[in-house]
Symmetry: C2
Subunit: 116 residues, 2 copies
């Protein structure tokens, strides 16, 4: 992998909202509307963030009926990406923002959330 691509890996991690998404996904898989609810962003914005993280290799997606679940790419074959994923819990501690995010994803119900 060339150095430009390595820079892109770090660029994917350079946005606070994307880091919050990764921290949430380390708790459990989530659909777009659940992440949207927690971050208070437009759905389209969250979708863009997810596609950036997916393109970099940090997350993968899984179709689940009308929903799309996103999850951490735990079995990533790229050693750099894999090692960064394994370091994230150590690097990014649960500050106020992250703690609140995790509280929220433990209390949302995607069926109540999205159907309105």
């Amino acid at each position: 992998m060339q150095i430009e691509e390595k820079a892109k890996l770090f660029k994917a991690l350079s946005d606070p909202n994307r880091l919050r998404i990764l921290k949430m996904l380390q708790v459990r898989k989530l659909c777009v509307c659940e992440i949207t609810e927690v971050l208070s962003l437009a759905t389209s914005t969250v979708s863009e963030h997810l596609s950036i993280l997916k393109r970099a290799g940090f997350i993968i997606e899984e179709k689940d009926g009308k929903w799309v679940n996103y999850m951490i790419n735990s079995n990533c074959c790229d050693t750099t990406v894999a090692s960064i994923i394994s370091m994230l819990p150590f690097w990014i501690s649960n500050d106020n923002t992250v703690s609140c995010d995790i509280d929220k994803i433990n209390s949302v119900d995607r069926n109540k959330l999205c159907c309105r």
Copy 2:
């Protein structure tokens, strides 16, 4: 450290020229004009890159007569920054670009380089 500041750490690493600077500094300390010669950028541009890396904590500076030497912040007290620095050799291999950069810094003479 809040999650916004963690994002800024990764933003500092999200530019290929800054990654090249870090890889060069892992060989030896360098002044601005040496880095400028290798990267083929304007001196002011290199100076800005260095100040971004310095603000993030990855490098430190040392006055040396009319020169300013920049070097890796090897004794960084921040555990996240320290761990990232220690991982850099593993993450960023010596691709063509990096190998050429290192060849160049081993052959430049700052006295011949700057005085013109």
